[in-house]
Amino acid sequence: MLPEEITKFIGQSIGVVACEVEKGSIKRFADAVDDPNPLYWDEKYAGKSRYGSIIAPPGFFGWPVNLPRGMTFQRPTDISDPPEVTENLRAALAKAGFGRVVDGGIEYEFFQPVRAGDILSAKSVIKDIIEREGKTGKMAFVIIETAYHNQKDELVAKARATAIYR
């Protein structure tokens, strides 16, 4: 059973992070994957497509838009709610012996394309924290759900991410 110091974080909001989707960021992201899709690279081509402009690859969320504090290049002014929730949860997990974390996986549902110039805001909630038994011992699965909206307040995507603490 996970201690109350950890389970009390269930339901807590991690806050809202806003990020402008820049063409350069899109290109660097596509380059890092080695994805030559002209919709991400070629303005003329993308302009003539059904999107009307350069778009970001699906999945251009997560790390660029919704970053845990301490592993981010976003300035603090981009974060509108206090960041302590993640840090405090991490500390509570470390105290209980779950000092290491790895990314367990992700689920996305996509509703709108993301265009260069869009401003995305990500609002995350700690949905659940579950104890699991593995080969190396006990683990804590932290499930974070995030809703991404653009500057028109359209729901762009939803994500459900699992971080595995051990």
């Binding site: 960021s25 890092a32 994957v33 919709l39 699906p58 790895v102």
Partner: protein, 154 residues
Amino acid sequence: MAKQLYWENVEVGGEVTPLSKVATTRMLVKWAGASGDFNPLHYDAAFAAIQGVGSPIVHGALKRQWLVQLMTDWMGEQGTLKKFSCSYRAMDWPRKMATTMTPEAGETWQCKGKVTKKYVDDGQHYVDCDIWIENGKGEVTTPGTATVILPGRS
């Protein structure tokens, strides 16, 4: 780019066009910069060793993005990726670099998929797939699922 895929031409049990990828230390550096994931687990040999993974491992999210490309390449420009999921079940280690641009010989990863279902819902043509990444030994390290909306001919 490949010809546009239409919903009518997809068969349940059919293959998604496979995609080969080679993870290199160079690619991991690019991914860290592009994604903002500066976890030293992925670039610092001493840190990775202390964390118990041997040496720096491939970012899970980079593998995710390979699988996203698997689907966006296959669905074509008129297709839409609707749902996606993957789990980072097993670790992958990148090839080191032999020169500034070329990696050492080593493993190549294969991104693959298989159609599990096709259906029409509210006028949209859906295709569900199982997707996965196999490492150089053919072991599945990153299983997942994806749903795309394809154009219909009618």
